[in-house]
């Protein structure tokens, strides 16, 4: 009995210990609850929100671009895409087969769709095909019963209504590259569908055109399925942009090149402001295709084309200015006082300097001429003589004053500076002193001298406007006071302009065939042709081959700079036709047609 009592006592004692231990352990649970739910609640609330809230960036509509008359030249087009949601169709393959009956899918497309379907959860919409036409959209909707799980999604994609004609101005947009994403911390660049300006105005004004991304907060479940929208913050659409381009003139100028299958560049400026009215580089490419993405083959074709459609010849092409440079030499000569307006030099067709003979393009010679006549006939001997007398430094200084030899900085990529050589440059570049023969050929714009078509347009605009240092620009000039009067006598400018007038309007002028008269409005200009091959002694002795006898890439570049109307200049133009043959026969007619169009359109009121 006693022992039983002890046994019972032990049990009771130990029971108390046990119940207390259990209550203590359960209190630990309560403490733990307190720790997690009160002490660390904020941390876990944040983690829970991170779990359930998925933030998506909304791509703002890109700013549209207008020409000077409010015509849209870059816009956002609705892009219809056919999407498929795997879980909404009983049989994905069957639905795709039905889809193919309506619209063929390439093997590439089909394998991409299948890969995307495999990689994503069944509720994620997968793109079947984009850029659908209205007809295709209608067809899909008509066949909706056979196409379970297929729906049409609308997006925005960039559209360039003028296509290739403005590609070298506007550039294009395309998917963000890794390098671009690194350089810019705007989160929009992380969005896979986002497209960024890759070239031209699209790149130059990227920040303005882009706008600010909005955000969409969604509640998602553990599998990523969207349950509901929590918050939507609309972004700021990109700013619209107006360019100084006149789309009619641009189209006309571009078509002139296309019709004649020529490659080259043409720039039209408002001579008083520098506003660019037309800016052509031909051949060009289709920016709409670029925005969609090119296939490897298409890309290869573009890159390997010998006429180089991707290069912007207006700013990246550096050419000898040829005889167009005689305007600069004439101004330098007149300013030096060494050559007076009435000074005449005799052209015999040939000039001897030491052992070397320099020829005029006219083998029989021009006889005695003054500066105006020399410009009109583009006499080489006159300018050889002149250059020799005034020296390279005066010529180089005048060239630089008119915008040659250095980038204009119009804002587009790959702008080249051209080259205006002088003695210092030669010594630095080659370690050799300047030769007198080099001065002589510089007098007719050959030798080391290189200019871009845009620089030539700047040159002609500055001559035409009476010596104001206008600078080409794609956007409207807000402050005309920025344009400074250059240090150049208007008397000398008038003499050069007279010469340029005669080139076009006096029979015997090198571009007489391109003259026009629209209600008294006439053009003045200067031709230029530059050899891209060396004429050998042997060829000179027998017969110099005609341009059309040469293969395309050995033909001369044809140049023409002009302005109109002569009395009251408004438009300045520079035309370069690569391997076009002669300036007077190929470039001048194009410039003439462009200026006539500008006058008829009456662009600058």
């Amino acid at each position: 009995m006693n022992r039983d009592k002890d046994k019972g006592k032990v049990l009771i004692n130990r029971s108390f210990i046990m119940i207390v231990a259990k209550l203590v352990l359960l209190s630990v649970i309560i403490l733990r609850l307190y720790y997690l739910q009160v002490y660390q609640a904020d941390k876990y609330k944040m983690l829970a929100d991170e779990n359930r809230i998925s933030t998506r960036l909304l791509i703002p509509p890109r700013g549209v671009i207008y020409d000077r008359n409010g015509v849209m030249i870059a816009s956002n087009r609705q892009n219809f895409q056919a999407m498929i949601v795997a879980e909404q169709t009983p049989n994905v393959q069957k639905t795709l087969d039905e889809f193919k009956k309506i619209m063929p899918l390439s093997d590439d497309e089909e394998s991409r769709i299948k890969r995307d379907l495999k990689r994503n959860r069944s509720f994620v919409p997968i793109k079947i095909k984009d850029n659908l036409t209205w007809d295709e959209v209608a067809k899909i909707q008509l066949n909706a019963p056979d196409l379970q799980g297929v729906y049409i999604d609308e997006g925005l994609s960039r559209d360039y209504p003028f296509g290739a004609s403005m590609a070298h101005i506007l550039g294009y947009v395309s998917s963000v590259s890794e390098k671009e994403a690194k350089a810019d911390n705007d989160p929009l660049l992380q969005v896979p569908e986002f497209k960024i300006g890759k070239a031209g105005i699209e790149k130059l004004f990227e920040k303005d055109l882009r706008g600010k991304g909005g955000s969409l907060k969604l509640e998602v479940n553990a599998y990523g399925r969207v349950m509901k929208e929590i918050e939507r913050i609309e972004g700021v659409p990109g700013k619209a942009l107006s360019l100084t381009i006149d789309s009619r003139l641009q189209e006309k100028a571009y078509q002139l090149f296309v019709e004649q299958e020529q490659s080259g560049a043409a720039i039209v400026l408002d001579v008083h402001t520098g506003e660019i009215l037309a800016f052509v580089s031909a051949p060009s490419y289709d920016p709409n295709a670029m925005a969609k993405g090119l296939s490897g083959k298409e890309w290869k074709e573009l890159v390997s084309n010998e006429r180089n459609p991707l290069s912007n010849k207006a700013i990246s092409g550096q050419y000898s200015p040829g005889s167009t440079f005689k305007t600069v030499v004439a101004l330098a000569a007149l300013e030096s006082g060494i050559v007076k307006p009435q000074t005449r030099f005799f052209c015999s067709g040939k000039m001897q300097l030491g052992s070397h003979a320099f020829h005029c393009w006219r083998r029989t010679g021009h006889g005695p001429l003054n500066v105006v006549e020399a410009l009109m006939h583009s006499c080489d001997i006159f300018f050889y003589e002149t250059a020799q007398r005034i020296g390279i430094e005066r010529i180089a200084e005048m060239a630089r004053r008119f915008g040659l030899g250095k980038e204009i900085n119009v804002g587009l990529d790959n702008e080249k500076p051209g080259l205006i050589p002088d003695k210092k440059w030669k010594l630095k570049r080659f370690g050799e002193p300047w030769q007198q023969g080099e001065t002589v050929i510089s007098g007719i714009g050959q030798g080391y001298i290189l200019t871009t078509p845009l620089q030539l347009a700047t040159l002609v605009a500055r001559i035409a406007n009476g010596g104001y240092a206008v600078k080409p620009t794609f956007t409207k000039l807000t402050d005309k006071a920025q344009i400074k009067k250059m240090d150049i006598s208007s008397e000398f400018l008038d003499i050069v302009k007279q010469g340029m007038y005669n080139v076009v309007n006096v029979p015997g002028g090198t571009a007489y065939r391109s003259h026009f008269n629209i209600n008294g409005q006439e053009m003045a200009g200067k031709t230029g042709s530059t050899q891209v091959r060396r004429i050998t002694m042997k060829e000179r002795q027998t017969r110099i081959l005609r341009q059309d006898e040469l293969p395309w890439k050995y033909r001369d570049h044809a140049l023409f700079i002009a302005f109109a109307p002569y009395d009251n200049p408004r438009y300045g133009v520079a035309v370069l036709v690569e391997h076009g043959g002669g300036g007077s026969s190929v470039a001048a007619p194009i410039a003439s047609a462009i200026l006539q169009e500008a006058i008829n359109l009456d662009i600058i009121k």
Binding site: M18, L26, V28, A41, A48, V220, N221
Partner: protein, 379 residues
């Protein structure tokens, strides 16, 4: 003077009505409140539907409730008399499942009886307590304090525990061992023996580790460092802590648990139901559950202490310990205090077998209380 057979029966004979009146209604009330909370949470877990879980759970609770009353009204000497028989039958079933499990494909833990699936391991938790209670009831304190005195009960526990660990069901097996250890402690086994076994267990741990299944090893490793595998095994613990913590003091509101409803929380209607409840009802909800369970335990121990028979005391303590282990292991697991072992929260987690076995335990504990004045001989 001491007449084991006659006096006990005659003196305390109660009518069925008297017995019924002796049921502790507070105790039944706490149990019912917990079950009702369970229905509500299951309704939320099904996104505001009584199906598929809440209705079935209610039916099981109702069945369990009837079972509880029936067992409560049973004569306690019946349990004493058939304790060993029940133990051996359960053991046979366990062996049958083990053998059948090997014949059939994969691990099978139950025997299909048509209406319910009988899980012998669950039944063993009760049978073992009854059998051990009977053993210690009939054994003197001196014997208990000798080594030969504790070898038979130790084997009684280890044999089924070994069978269950092979199923493999580490959680149930450990619960069986813990319950046995608790009973050994209660009956007065010397503390140094526990210490000795404890040290022994620690020293064989590296060997035992070797025999664990990979998923069991993973659970332990993941418990030690949940970030080790945030998308795999650690995912459950991490998501459970996020759900709990984000619930705060007052919770996100009924049916508003984001972690649960957006499926970040796994097993929200079974093992992780405490997490879901604490997410939606906050710390208030969690503490309510714990306090109700504390009350149930306090009552159970009170019943044990007031019971006059050693068998009754030990049965109540053993079953209460078993219940406590469920509650503690489950809540500690979802709170990230111990590894994930797959133990449900009794009365609340969705699941039939545990509901029935727990309700049966409560029935027997109530029976101990109703028969508190009955003396039981040492037969």
């Amino acid at each position: 003077m001491y007449k084991p057979y006659e006096t006990t029966i005659k003196n305390q004979a109660q009518t069925l009505g008297e017995k019924f009146a002796n049921i502790s209604f507070s105790y039944v009330l706490y149990i019912t409140i917990l079950a009702v909370i369970g229905f509500v949470v299951l309704y939320s877990a099904a996104n505001g539907n009584w199906n598929p879980w809440a209705v079935k759970q209610f039916v099981r609770f109702a069945m369990g409730f009837v079972l509880m009353i029936v067992l409560a009204l049973t004569d306690i000497r019946f349990f004493m008399r058939y304790a060993y028989v029940l133990y051996f039958i359960t053991l046979l079933l366990l062996i049958a499942v083990e053998v059948g499990g090997h014949i059939g494909m994969g691990a099978q833990r139950w025997i299909n009886l048509g209406i319910i699936k009988l899980q012998p391991s669950e039944l063993m938790k009760i049978s073992l307590v009854l059998a051990l209670a009977r053993y210690f009831h009939s054994t003197s304190l001196q014997t208990i304090r000798t080594l030969p005195g504790i070898i038979p009960p130790a084997l009684m526990a280890l044999f089924p525990a070994a069978l269950i660990v092979m199923q493999p069901d580490l959680g149930t097996s450990l619960m069986l061992i813990f319950t046995t250890v608790a009973i050994f402690f209660a009956v007065g086994v010397q503390l140094w023996k526990f210490a000795l076994v404890g040290v022994g267990a620690l020293s064989v741990m590296p060997i035992a580790w070797h025999f664990l299944h990979d998923y069991q090893k993973n659970r332990v490793l993941t418990f030690l460092d949940p970030e080790r595998d945030p998308l795999g095994a650690g995912y459950h613990i991490i998501q459970s802590k996020i759900a709990l913590g984000s619930g705060g003091i007052f919770g996100k509101g009924f049916m508003n648990g984001t972690q649960s409803h957006l499926n970040f929380l796994p097993e929200k209607h079974t093992d992780f139901i405490f997490t879901m409840l604490s997410e939606e009802f906050g710390m208030i909800g969690g503490v309510t559950i714990i306090v109700l369970n504390m009350l149930i335990l306090i009552y159970s121990y009170a019943f044990a202490i007031r019971c006059s028979s050693y068998f009754g005391k030990l049965v109540a303590i053993g079953l209460a310990t078993n219940y406590f282990l469920y509650v503690f292991i489950n809540t500690a697991m979802v709170l990230g205090l111990i590894p994930v072992v797959g133990v449900p929260l009794p009365l609340i987690s969705y699941g039939g077998t545990v509901m029935l076995s727990i309700m049966a335990s409560f029935g027997i504990i109530l029976c101990v209380h109703i028969n508190r004045n009955i003396q039981i001989g040492k037969d």
